[in-house]
C-alpha cells in the first residue's frame, strides 16, 4: 500500500512538468506518523517568549533548598564559587548592569531571556541525571538564580506567565536585534 502510493507520487511528480503543474520534489512516504500525544512526550524545547512553558511555580526560597542539594556540588554556594561556571553577577537587589564582557558569559544575568535558564535547567540539569527535576523545581531553581543575580525578589513567584515577563538586564546586548538570514553586514564571517 505505502509502496504503491510512493510510486504513484513519484510518477505524478515526473509527469507534472509536462502537465504544466508546479514542480514538486518526489515524496517517498518513508517515516512513521507521530500523534499529538507522542509529540507532547518529547517536545520540551522552550522558545524565547516562553509560550511552550508548562504549568508550574516556585520562588527563590524554595529554589535555595533544591540548589544546595542538587547543584552546589558543581556550581558552589549560591552559584558563585564552583568548579564550573560562575552563574551569578551582582547580588540580590543589585543587578549587574554592564558593560557585559566575554568573562560574564557564564552568568544567568548575561542571558537575554529568562526562559533560557528554565529550558536549560529542565533539559540538561542536573548532571549526572538531567531531566529528573519536576516543573515546580525548575521554576524554583530559575527563581533562585534570578534572585541571586538581583533580577527578581526572593519571594516573587515564577510560573509560566510571570517568567517570560522578567526583564533581563542584557536583553538588548545582542545584534542584530532580531536574528536574520542571510546575515548583514558582509562578509558574514566577521
Amino acid at each position: 500500500m505505502r509502496c504503491s502510493l510512493s510510486l504513484l507520487a513519484c510518477m505524478a511528480v515526473l509527469a507534472a512538468p509536462a502537465a504544466g503543474m508546479a514542480q514538486q520534489p518526489p515524496r517517498f512516504n518513508v517515516g512513521t506518523p507521530l500523534s499529538a500525544e507522542e509529540i507532547k512526550g518529547f517536545d520540551f524545547m522552550i522558545g524565547p517568549e516562553g509560550q511552550q512553558l508548562p504549568v508550574g511555580r516556585g520562588n527563590a526560597k524554595d529554589g535555595a533548598v533544591i540548589f544546595a542539594k542538587r547543584c552546589e556540588v558543581c556550581h558552589g554556594k549560591n552559584g558563585e564559587s564552583g568548579v564550573l561556571r560562575r552563574l551569578v553577577l551582582g547580588k540580590p537587589g543589585q543587578p549587574f548592569r554592564g558593560p557585559f564582557k566575554a568573562e560574564h558569559r557564564d552568568s544567568v544575568a548575561y542571558y537575554p531571556y529568562a526562559t533560557i535558564a528554565w529550558d536549560y535547567i529542565n533539559r540538561a540539569m542536573p548532571v549526572p541525571k538531567p531531566g529528573t527535576l519536576t516543573h515546580d523545581e525548575v521554576y524554583s531553581l530559575t527563581a533562585f538564580l534570578l534572585y541571586r543575580n538581583g533580577i527578581v525578589g526572593e519571594t516573587d513567584i515564577m510560573d509560566e506567565k510571570s517568567l517570560p515577563k522578567v526583564e533581563m538586564p542584557n536583553r538588548n546586548g545582542f545584534v542584530p536585534a532580531v536574528p536574520v538570514y542571510p546575515p548583514e553586514p558582509k562578509p558574514s564571517w566577521w
Partner: protein
C-alpha cells in the same frame, strides 16, 4: 577481501599507527610530555566522571573536565585532506558520551509541518543519500587567546592551535528530503535541533540553509559514525561553525523564530567593541583560513636546503581558489600548489617548495576563496573587531578567528608560534 569486521580492525590499526606518529616523531620530547600532561587538568571533582569514562583508552590531545571533552586533530602529522575518524576533533559539552542503541534510535521532525514523522535508522538509510567531503571547524578554533604567552599550548605544534578543524568524507540523507516528507507549512522559517547527549545540545538553523546543502549524516570515511562524532546520526551543516552540526540528533522542531538555546546565544557569543559592546548572537560561516602544518611550531628544520612547506586551507564560502606562501613575514608572496580536485567547503592541501638559507625566516600562508574573500592578517581582523590602541597586538577573547598564522624560524632551525610576538 576482508569481511567488514576485520576491515574495520585493519582501519583501526592504521589510524592507531597514525595516532602513534602524532605522539612522538618529528617533534621534541618536551612537546610530547606536555601533550600528555594536558590530561592532568582534571579536577578532583571529576572523579565521578572519570569513573564513567573508565575503559576509554588514554589518547593524546584529549582534554577532559566536568563539562567538556576536547580532542585536537594532529594536523602536523598527516597528509592529504581526509582526517581519519578517530583523529577528528571533538568539542563536547558534557562529561560522558551517550550510549545509543541505533535500532531503537528515532529522528523526529515536528512543529510547523503538515505530517510530523519519526524516522528509524533503516528509514534514513533507505532514502536517497549524498556523500561529500567537508571540513568541520569549531568556532573557537585558533582563537587569539590560544596564542597567549601563559597558555600551556604555546610552543606545542599546530594541533593545539588550529586542531579543532578536521575534514572527512560524510554520508547521509539530505535534510531537504526529510522535510519534504513532512511537508513544510507556509510560516516555517527556522528549525531547532536537539541531541540525545546528556546536555541536550540544541541549535537553531535558518530554514534556507537547511534546504540548501544540510544533511543528516550516518557515515564518516566509509564507516558508521563513531560515538564521539554523534553515533548513530548527526546533523551536518557544511561550511558553518560546528555547533550547528548537532550530534546524537534526535529531534528537529520546525519553527518561525530562532530559539536562542543556551548553547548558541549564551555560551557562543562574545561582546565586541565594534558592535558597541554588544555580542553577535548568530554567526554562520567560517571564513577563509589557511595554516602551514609542516614545518610548524615545535618542529625543527634539520638542515639548510630544500624544505617542502605544506598546509591546509578552507573556507565556509566555497572553493579555495588560491593559496600564497610568504617566507619573509608577509613582505613578498608566491602562489602555492593546490592538490586537486579542490572540493567546496573542504580542507585543501597546498605545498610550496622552499630553499632555506639558514637565516631567520617567518613562514605564513594566505588563502582566497571563490568569492574573492581573502584571509585577513591579525591587524586587519582586529580592525574589523574594533580592537585598537594598546590592545591591538594582544590576545583578545574572541571567536571566529581566521587570521594569518606566522611561524618564525630561528638560525638553529627551531620553529615557534610568532603570533603576537
Amino acid at each position: 577481501m576482508d569481511s567488514n569486521p576485520s576491515g574495520r580492525r585493519q582501519f583501526l590499526k592504521q589510524t592507531a599507527a597514525l595516532a602513534g606518529v602524532a605522539a612522538g616523531a618529528g617533534v621534541s620530547a618536551d612537546w610530547a610530555a606536555r601533550g600528555q600532561s594536558v590530561k592532568a587538568d582534571v579536577t578532583s571533582k571529576d572523579a565521578h566522571h572519570n569513573e564513567l569514562l573508565r575503559g576509554t583508552p588514554s589518547r593524546r590531545g584529549v582534554r577532559m573536565s566536568v563539562d567538556h571533552i576536547t580532542y585536537y586533530t594532529p594536523l602536523q602529522d598527516y597528509n592529504g585532506i581526509i582526517t581519519p575518524a578517530n583523529l577528528h576533533f571533538v568539542q563536547y559539552h558534557a562529561s560522558h558520551f551517550p550510549e545509543i542503541d541505533a535500532q531503537q534510535h528515532r529522528l523526529t521532525i515536528h512543529g510547523l509541518v503538515d505530517r510530523p514523522l519519526s524516522f528509524s535508522m533503516d528509514d534514513l538509510k533507505g532514502l536517497p543519500s549524498v556523500t561529500r567531503i567537508h571540513f568541520l571547524e569549531c568556532h573557537a578554533n585558533s582563537s587569539p587567546q590560544i596564542h597567549h604567552a601563559g597558555n600551556q599550548n604555546m610552543g606545542l605544534p599546530v594541533q593545539y592551535v588550529h586542531g579543532m578543524s578536521s575534514c572527512s568524507e560524510w554520508t547521509g540523507v539530505p535534510l531537504s528530503v526529510l522535510l519534504n516528507e513532512c511537508g513544510l507549512k507556509k510560516e516555517a522559517s527556522w528549525l531547532v535541533s536537539e541531541g540525545a547527549d546528556p546536555g541536550k545540545f540544541s541549535h537553531t538553523l535558518p530554514l534556507a540553509k537547511a534546504l540548501d546543502d544540510v544533511f543528516v549524516a550516518y557515515g564518516q570515511n566509509g564507516e558508521p559514525l563513531r560515538v564521539e562524532q554523534g553515533f548513530p546520526i548527526r546533523l551536518f551543516v557544511p561550511g558553518w561553525e560546528a555547533p550547528f552540526s548537532v550530534k546524537y540528533l534526535r529531534h528537529i522542531k520546525v519553527t518561525d523564530q530562532p530559539y536562542h538555546a543556551w548553547n548558541e546565544s549564551m555560551n557562543h557569543s562574545i561582546p565586541r567593541d565594534d558592535l558597541g559592546g554588544k555580542a553577535r548572537w548568530y554567526h554562520y560561516e567560517m571564513g577563509p583560513k589557511s595554516v602551514i602544518t609542516r614545518p610548524s611550531g615545535g618542529m625543527t628544520i634539520p638542515r639548510k636546503g630544500y624544505v617542502q612547506i605544506t598546509g591546509l586551507a578552507w573556507s565556509g564560502g566555497g572553493v579555495i581558489s588560491k593559496v600564497e606562501v610568504s617566507t619573509d613575514g608577509g613582505k613578498t608572496w608566491k602562489d602555492a600548489k593546490l592538490a586537486t580536485p579542490v572540493q567546496s567547503k573542504a580542507h585543501t592541501r597546498f605545498t610550496f617548495d622552499w630553499a632555506w638559507n639558514g637565516e631567520e625566516a617567518v613562514l605564513m600562508s594566505r588563502c582566497t576563496d571563490e568569492r574573492g574573500e581573502v584571509q585577513p592578517t591579525q591587524a586587519e581582523l582586529y580592525k574589523h573587531w574594533g580592537i585598537t590602541g594598546p590592545d591591538a597586538n594582544k590576545p583578545a577573547r574572541a571567536i571566529h578567528t581566521n587570521m594569518i598564522q606566522p611561524w618564525s624560524v630561528a638560525r638553529d632551525g627551531s620553529i615557534k608560534n610568532a603570533m603576537f610576538a
